[in-house]
Symmetry: C2
Subunit: 277 residues, 2 copies
């Protein structure tokens, strides 16, 4: 049975990676494959948006380094919201340095990402040492790593052999790499004939999802939840400004309505994919 047609619950049961298992269980429990990306620069807006969208998401994606009034209390409140609303946290750090440096960036500094973010991500461009550097910090904490196998921007260089190499690197480090940021399933990509990749289950998280717009004027391109989940076989849709609009003029009911709308569209697409609609 191919991964694409299995239920999230079946995949959770069998998954060897702690963070992947947690995420699949959360998706199944909440009937939501929606991740909201909260790209705002003020703590109050950040927490307000997360409290609003929390009930509708399996995952909250953060860019902690854009928040101007970041402090330790922000992390504590984020963790409280994570428990209150039952979602995981994904710091979208896009690590991209050599092993020694990323291990410090992940564990240390003002932000101490490894101590609170269940999931993070990295570009494969430095080679396998980026994975071992991050794993040296995150593996014992039960964290999971996503590799950026593709990007949703115009002119992305994460294509062809680059994407294949990313998948090969992940396959060699399944104990820590739980999946990919990508635009489509990666099952068997870059595999030699008969290498037994049928059993692998890498989660695919996909940014650039929108219902109402096609681009942001800064290179980002959008697809619908149905295109992403049904046609391309991805597992989690990532939506940002499409849910919360202008962070400095939050429309409380509007944000909830949009979050619920994306959640329902994502779930409907999943049911279609597994043949249950």
């Amino acid at each position: 049975m191919v991964t694409k047609t299995k239920t999230y619950a079946q995949r959770a049961k069998d998954h060897p990676n702690t963070a992947a298992k947690q995420l699949l269980e959360t998706i199944d429990r909440k009937k939501s494959n929606l991740c909201v990306s909260v790209d705002v620069t003020r703590k109050a807006n950040f927490l307000a948006i997360i409290d609003l969208v929390g009930p509708f998401v399996c995952l909250v994606k953060t860019h902690i380094d854009i928040i101007e009034d970041f402090d330790h209390d922000l992390i504590e409140q984020l963790q409280v919201l994570s428990k209150k609303h039952d979602f995981l946290i994904f710091e979208d750090r896009k690590f991209a340095d050599i092993g020694n440096t990323v291990s410090l960036q992940y564990s240390s500094g003002v932000h101490k990402i490894a101590s609170w973010s269940h999931i993070t991500n990295a570009h494969p461009v430095p080679g396998p040492s980026i994975i071992t550097g991050l794993a040296s910090v995150g593996k014992s904490l039960g964290r999971g790593l996503l590799l950026l196998a593709e990007m949703s921007t115009k002119g992305s260089l994460a294509v062809g052999s680059y994407t294949e190499d990313a998948v090969k690197m992940a396959r060699a480090h399944k104990d820590f790499v739980m999946g990919f940021i990508a635009q489509q399933r990666m099952d068997g990509v870059g595999a030699e004939g008969g290498s037994g990749t049928e059993e692998e289950d890498f989660l695919i998280l996909t940014p650039g999802v929108g219902l109402d717009v096609k681009g942001d004027g800064m290179g980002q391109q959008y697809r619908t939840p149905r295109e992403v989940i049904v046609e391309s076989g991805c597992d989690v849709i990532i939506v940002g400004r499409g849910v919360y609009g202008n962070p400095n003029a939050l429309d409380v009911d509007g944000v909830r309505r949009q979050a619920e709308r994306y959640m329902k569209e994502g779930w409907k697409a999943y049911l279609e994919r597994i043949g249950e609609q």
Copy 2:
């Protein structure tokens, strides 16, 4: 006359990019093409090392996000040292996200990189929007951007067409891109026949330089200043732990001696390259 055999002073005179011009002038004034990478996690060690190596460097490379006790005073003191010892600052952030996100990461957050770092760098993997996103913040401030065209780690994916695409992206954004992190000169790389790239002058800054070791056990590989400057035609050597050793047991005289040693080796290699030794 090819860039490789021009003097730093000649290149400074003609360079259209503000940050590149400043860096070339500093190199010429101090007779140093040495950049020290200060990869430590405590403010006191960070400032102590920079004060020690300051007289011997044209550029200090920082990873501001690994410093646990970062505060605004650290930036003020770093700027004082930059003036005292006459060096520029290069935050090695390795931006690697979509245009909208990198513009926020560069301008905002706790670290406000654009406000103090003369030079920063980015991976070309997201496509050209990463340059325009960063330029929207840094260009009016006279900042310069380096693209990572190659990496010094084992199994790096920044090779072949990836490197060519990086150079093409830089060539299309010369107003903000001042050069590359790379292992060799990029003159004419990825250029179509007769496209007039003879006049281009991208600075090449090269990490992975060491006189005493070959690797760090975490994927980093080292070459000597002569290999980097003479054989590969690079412009600035980047040295880290090779200069300052163990940050928690600083040998004050040893650090000065190593910094001077690398400075002299780098300059000797440059003189050989331009035929003046």
